[in-house]
Every structure is written in structure tokens, then in C-alpha cells.
């Protein structure tokens, strides 16, 4: 099931949220290469965002080679292996940053944190 959502109360810009959401869906296979993206208008309506936001993301993804835009027929997903891995890394890095931030807040030291991470992985 495709899950695209953006939150207005987040401090992350909408277009970034949407981009991430689309990427997540592509990476997790929910959006398949060659598949067709919803039109700008319909996606905007579903998400209740400004069509400009959707357009921005689509064009941005087109520039980065993730989407292929053809006049009249909308945007299709075009994903290369290399880019896929690159994005995966980016996403995880983002998560790690967040984790570190929380850890600092809670007062973990670097060593304590590494210990916890190791233990969690072991426990599955």
C-alpha cells in the first residue's frame, strides 16, 4: 500500500517531506520503476497541499533522474541502481542524526550510545 503523507506541523519543509515520502515508497518497492505517478493536481488534492509543492518535488525528482516527465502523459518512475543505494544511505544518515540528537538531549555519552546500539542489534 502506498503511503504518502506530509505533516503541516513538522518543521521540515513540505516539499522535502514529500520528496522523502516518495523516495521511501520507491525504495521500499511500494512504487515500482516504470509505474506512473499521480498527476500533480490529484496528488495535491489527496495531500491537501499546494500544487506548486507537488510540482516542485516532481521536477526536482526529474532533475535527479528519479522520475521521468513527459508532456501529456505525466510522470513515471525511472530509478537506477546506483541512485537507489545513494538514497538509502542518505535516509539512514538522517535517521542516525535524529537518534544522536535525542541521545545528546537525554545525556548519553558517545560510549553509552554505542553500547546501547550494539545491544539492540543483538536482541534483534
Amino acid at each position: 500500500m502506498i503511503k504518502l503523507s506530509v505533516s503541516e506541523s513538522s518543521s521540515i519543509p513540505l516539499h522535502l517531506q514529500l520528496k522523502q515520502s516518495i523516495m521511501l515508497n520507491i525504495l521500499s518497492g511500494k512504487l515500482e520503476a516504470g509505474g506512473k505517478m499521480p498527476s500533480i493536481r490529484s496528488l495535491a488534492k489527496i495531500l491537501k497541499v499546494n500544487p506548486n509543492t507537488v510540482a516542485k518535488v516532481y521536477y526536482n525528482l526529474e532533475e535527479e533522474g528519479v522520475l521521468d516527465g513527459k508532456a501529456g502523459s505525466g510522470f513515471t518512475i525511472k530509478m537506477t541502481r546506483g541512485k537507489l543505494d545513494g538514497y538509502k544511505k542518505l535516509l539512514i544518515e538522517g535517521e542516525i542524526k535524529d537518534l544522536l540528537g535525542s541521545a545528546v538531549k537525554l545525556g548519553f555519552s558517545k560510549v553509552e550510545l554505542m553500547e546501547l546500539i550494539g545491544r539492540t542489534i543483538e536482541n534483534g
Partner: protein, 279 residues
């Protein structure tokens, strides 16, 4: 695409002796979506009415480019209409005078409104939706909406937002909405204007605000010189709201900087003005 639709220059509007709009100068482009927020009595509705030519400038000017009156749709908190007409009659009148070929009944059908009822018999929410439908059918190039969204139930609100989105995408309409928060208008506005006491205190893109307004929490008083516009004291310490934020400000300093969402940003700005007023 980047042409100005409205240019406002040195606008001043008085209510009697009180100056409700003070020397406002700004522009609106075609296709922009703007949220105007502010405290009660800040001048938002006055400003909106001025944009809709319901109030004429006392000083300064409001200039429109390539915009005929038929393409301006405005709904104010009064939701003024000829209330003795039936819904049908109101549609007919509005269509005729604004030159609308075909009225789109979709939204009203959704609600199952009886066209033979009189407008005066509608509830506020129904009236808001009815009025908005009329405006939409004008295919306006400029749409001005004063705080009426809160009257409409969430389901209808969604339908309405979708219609607005359709307008934005299809007709490149400039939409200017007045509201306290983003709550009703959602994620549509790209530009945020905050007014206070007749002046524009914030006029930024949504993204800019997100990146330039930060919150710093600390249980110790902050000693360095930061552009704090609002401080909130909690039992756990103080929250400092910063604008405009630059990374250099907190470099090498042990300060916890948080991103905040737009609703909180607006609340902070409003809070700041209240506090200033009090002092």
C-alpha cells in the same frame, strides 16, 4: 508567471482617527497563495477588504494589473449576500452579473442543499460554503477569503480545499486567506504574512520561516546576543524564539536549537506582540 498582480504602495487606512493600516507596501504575484495571520484587531480583515476594494485607500494606492472586477472574488466575515433571494436566485444573479457561463453545482450537491430555500435560512457554515461556491464559479484570478473556514465542517472543508487546489492548478489563481493559524487552510499557503497593529511584521515564504525561526530551550538565562522575539517561561526553564536564525549564532555554543512547525511559529510571533504590548 512572475508578474505582479497587485502592487500596494504606502497604503494607509483610517477608521476615524485610528490608523488601521500603516504605510503598507508590498506586492502579490499571480498564482501566489498567501496566509495573512495576526492578532485580533491587527488589521487583517481591513487589509483584505482593501484588496477587494471594499475599503478605499485614504493614502497610498492599491494597483491591479490585468485584473477586471469580474475576476475578483471576496468573502468577508460578514458573508454579505442578498439574503432574501433563494439559493437558486442568488446563483442566477451572481452568474449573470459576473458573467459565469455555467455554475458548478458539485459542492452544493455534495451537501444536498435545497435550491429553493432562502439564503437567510442557511446556517453560517452553509452560507460560507454557498458563498465560496459562488466565488469559485467566477473562476477568479484573485480570491480573497476572510476567516470563514472555521465555520465549515471538516469534511466540507476538505472538499473545499480540493476545489481551491483545482483552481490553483488550473487557473493560476492568486489566493489570499486571512486566518489565525494554518489549522483550517492547511498546507496550501506558500507565503506567510503576519500583521500587527496595521503593520506587516513578517512577510516570508513558508520555507524561509521554517528555516529561520528556531526555538532555543534553556534552564539558564541566555547570555549571548540573539534575536529573540518571544520568550516563554515554563516550569522547566525558558523557551526563546529566534528570528532570523543563522547557524553562526549558535556555533560553538552549547545551546539546544529546535525546529518548530509553522503553527507554533505563528503563535510565537503573536505571543511576542502581545508581550510587547503589555510592556
Amino acid at each position: 508567471m512572475d508578474k505582479n498582480l497587485i502592487e500596494i504602495n504606502g497604503l494607509n487606512i483610517y477608521y476615524g482617527k485610528k490608523r488601521a493600516i500603516k504605510d503598507v507596501t508590498l506586492n502579490f504575484k499571480k498564482g501566489e497563495t498567501v496566509l495573512i495571520a495576526g492578532r485580533n484587531g491587527a488589521g487583517k480583515s481591513t487589509f483584505l477588504r482593501a484588496l477587494g476594494q471594499l475599503i478605499l485607500p485614504d493614502n497610498g494606492s492599491v494597483n491591479y494589473f490585468d485584473l477586471s472586477k469580474k475576476k475578483i472574488g471576496i468573502i468577508t466575515d460578514k458573508m454579505s449576500m442578498f439574503e432574501d433571494l433563494t439559493l437558486e436566485g442568488g446563483i442566477r444573479f451572481h452568474s449573470e452579473i459576473f458573467g459565469i457561463d455555467e455554475f458548478d453545482h458539485t459542492i452544493l450537491d455534495h451537501l444536498g442543499m435545497d435550491m429553493k430555500r432562502k439564503i437567510s435560512a442557511l446556517s453560517s457554515g452553509e452560507r460560507a460554503i454557498y458563498h465560496l461556491s459562488l466565488l469559485i464559479s467566477q473562476k477568479p484570478e484573485l480570491l480573497l477569503i476572510d476567516e470563514v473556514f472555521y465555520l465549515v465542517d471538516p469534511y466540507i472543508r476538505d472538499i473545499f480545499i480540493e476545489t481551491l487546489i483545482g483552481l490553483l492548478d488550473g487557473s493560476n489563481t492568486t489566493i489570499i486567506m486571512v486566518n489565525h493559524t494554518f489549522a483550517e487552510t492547511g498546507k496550501i499557503p506558500e507565503r506567510v504574512i503576519i500583521m500587527d497593529e496595521g503593520e506587516i511584521i513578517i512577510d516570508e515564504e513558508r520555507e524561509t520561516l521554517l528555516s529561520k525561526v528556531k526555538k532555543i530551550s534553556s534552564d539558564m538565562p541566555v547570555t549571548i546576543d540573539l534575536p529573540v522575539f518571544f520568550t516563554r517561561n515554563t516550569p522547566f526553564g525558558s523557551e526563546y524564539f529566534i528570528f532570523p536564525f543563522e547557524k553562526e549564532m549558535v556555533k560553538d555554543k552549547n545551546l539546544y536549537v529546535e525546529d518548530i512547525g509553522l503553527n507554533d511559529i505563528i503563535k510565537a510571533f503573536l505571543g511576542g506582540r502581545y508581550v510587547n504590548k503589555r510592556d
